[in-house]
Symmetry: C2
Subunit: 345 residues, 2 copies
Amino acid sequence: MSCHDVPRYGGYRRSVPGSEQVNLVEVAKAAGVSKTTASDALRNSGRVSEQTRKRVVAVANRLGYSPNPVARSLRMASTGTIGLHLPEILTRSEYYMSFVFGVVDQAAKMDYDVTLLTAQHVPARRLHRVDGVVLGDPLETDTVVRELLGAGLPAVTCERYTGEVEPAGIVLSEHTAMFDRLLDHLADSGARAIAFLASSTVTDWGATLQGAYQNWCERHEMRPRVREMAFGSPTAVTQDNARAVLNADPSVDALVCAPDGAASAVLPVIRAAGKTIGADLLLASCVDSSELTHTDPPITAIDLRPREAGAACAQLLFDILAGETPRGTVRAHPIGLNARRSTRG
Amino acid sequence: MSCHDVPRYGGYRRSVPGSEQVNLVEVAKAAGVSKTTASDALRNSGRVSEQTRKRVVAVANRLGYSPNPVARSLRMASTGTIGLHLPEILTRSEYYMSFVFGVVDQAAKMDYDVTLLTAQHVPARRLHRVDGVVLGDPLETDTVVRELLGAGLPAVTCERYTGEVEPAGIVLSEHTAMFDRLLDHLADSGARAIAFLASSTVTDWGATLQGAYQNWCERHEMRPRVREMAFGSPTAVTQDNARAVLNADPSVDALVCAPDGAASAVLPVIRAAGKTIGADLLLASCVDSSELTHTDPPITAIDLRPREAGAACAQLLFDILAGETPRGTVRAHPIGLNARRSTRG
DNA sequence: GTGAAAGCGCTAACAA
DNA sequence: TTGTTAGCGCTTTCAC
C-alpha cells in the first residue's frame, strides 16, 4: 500500500470563520419537515407537494444552503469527476491546451468536473476522486499512466497505448491517411526529396508517422531522410537537427516537421541556409497551431482538431461508464490538412 | 436553489463488472482486526504494532484494497481538491497553459488535486468538490467568478478583481513597473512615437497597462497613440487595428502589443507597410511566448512568468486555507523583460 | 404526501 | 496496543 498521512486543510466551505455551512438537517428543521422531505423538495424528486417544496426551497435560500457534494458522492457512489492526464513534457503546447478544453467542455455538458492528474509525487501516490480517466498520448514509460490503468480505473486513451493493460476505450486519429495526403500534396507541388524531422517513437503518434513516412517513401521509390528528435527538445536542438538534415543532403527540397513548434523554430535555419520557403524548400508541420498562420510564409500543417479529439475521448469515457458502449471500443477521430503558402510556391 | 437532478454513472471503481472494490471492513475482517486498526495500520498512524501493521498491509495488498477518497473527504471535511477558473476566451494561449501547470504543480506538492472550472452550464450549476479556488484574471462580468466568490469559497485571484466580493487573497504582478521599463527601453533605442495596441480594460491587467502607458506618455511628453482591442479578437481584427495605427500616424516608430499573440500576428502587416522591424519600427509584446523567439527578428516581450504566477496563487490559497496567512493578503509576483532584436536595431 | 431509519466508507473520540 | 461507537451529510428503502 502506498497510503500515507495526508495533511489537509480546512473543510468544505468551513474556512470562513463564523459562517458554518448549513446542512440539510438544519434546513429541514427550519422548514419543519424531515430530512427526507427537504432532500426531495430540493432535488425536485416529484415526491413532495408543490406547497411544501416551495416552502423548503425558500428556507434553503434564506439560510444559504448548498448541498455537500462530497456527501452526495459518497452516497451515490459516483464522484461526478473524471481525471485527465497528459504527458508531462508536452503540456506547453496549444494542441494540448485545446485538447484539455475539449475534454472539459464535453464533461461540463454531462455535468462532470475534470481533474488534472500530473506526474508529481508518484512514489507516495494519493488517490484521485474520479470515476474514470482520459489519457492523452499515453507513454508506455509513464508511471502515472501505468498506475491509473493498473488500478482498474476506466480509461480512454487518445491514440494507442503500447503497455500491458488495455484501456477501456481508444480514440484514434487518422494519422497515416492524413500524413500520406500531406506527402502526396508535397509531391504534387514538385518535391522530389522530402526529409522528415520525426518525433520520438515513444508516442503512438510519433511511431505511426515514422511508419507512414517509410511506407510512403517505399511506395514512391523515394529515399527516406529521417532525423528523429527526443520529446520536448529545446529550440536549439531542433535547429541543429534541421541544419544537419539540410547539410547532409543538399538535394532536399521539402521538409516535414513532426514535433509541435518545430516548423516555426526551423525557419531561421532555413533562412540562414539561403533557401526560400515555398520555392527552394517546401515546409510543413504535423501539428497545426495559430503561430503557423502568422509566419512568413504561412506554413502548411495537419489539423489534429485537438478540441474535438478531447471531446471525443470524454464522450467515449461517459458512454463506457454508462454501460452504453462496451469496453474495448475504438473510435476514429477525423483530422484535416491546412495547405498554406509554404508548400504552394 | 439551483439544485437539480444529476444523472450519474457507475460508482467509484465499480465499473469493472465482477471486481467490486474491497473496502476497509473487508480488509479488517480478512486480517482479523477491527476497522480502526486496519485504518490506522494502513495510514501509519503509529498506533498499531509493527507486526499487525505489516500483516494488515499484506492483506490489503493481496485483496487489492485502495481507500475510497470520497469517504475520506467526507469524514475529514476536506476535499483535497482546489478549483481553477480562467477567462473563457483566453484559454488557448501558452500563458494560461503555463499558469495552469504552475497551479497543478504546486497543488501536487501539497498533495492536492486541481479541478478545471468552466463557464459551462451556468444556469443549472453543479457544486464543485473543492476546498478553494484560484481565479486567473477574473473578469467582473464573469458569472462563474461571481458565483464562486458569492458562495463564500476561499479564492485567490491572479490580478485584481473589480467586482463586489473581495477574494481571500491576491497575487499581483508588477505590470506597471515592467511596462515602464519596456517603454524606457524603447525610448533608449530611439523611439519617439510609441503606439500601443491595447487590451480591453475588462481585465485588471489590460486596465493597468493602459494606465501605465498614459502615465508614461505624460511624464515623457509623448502623445499617446492607443488602439484598444476586444478580448479574444481574431487575427484579422488584430491586423486591421495594427494597420489603422500605422496609417493614422506615419511617424510611429515603435509599436507595443498587449494581447497575447498580437505581436506575431502583426508581422505581416508591418512587412506589407514596407517597414523594417528593429530599424524603422520597433516592436514589442506585453506577453512573452515561445513563438516570439522564432520570428524574424525575435520580438522583445515582457516575461509574465506564468508558471510561477500559478504556483504563487496556489501557495497563497493553501496558506490561507491553513490559516497561516490572513484573508486579504496581497502578494507581489515579480515579472521580467526579454529584450530581443525587434527593439535593438 | 411524508417520516424514520439504514447506510455509503471512512476517521476520531472514548474505552478497555 | 486494540476494539467499540459515533458520526461526516447525504439518498434511499420501507413503512405509515
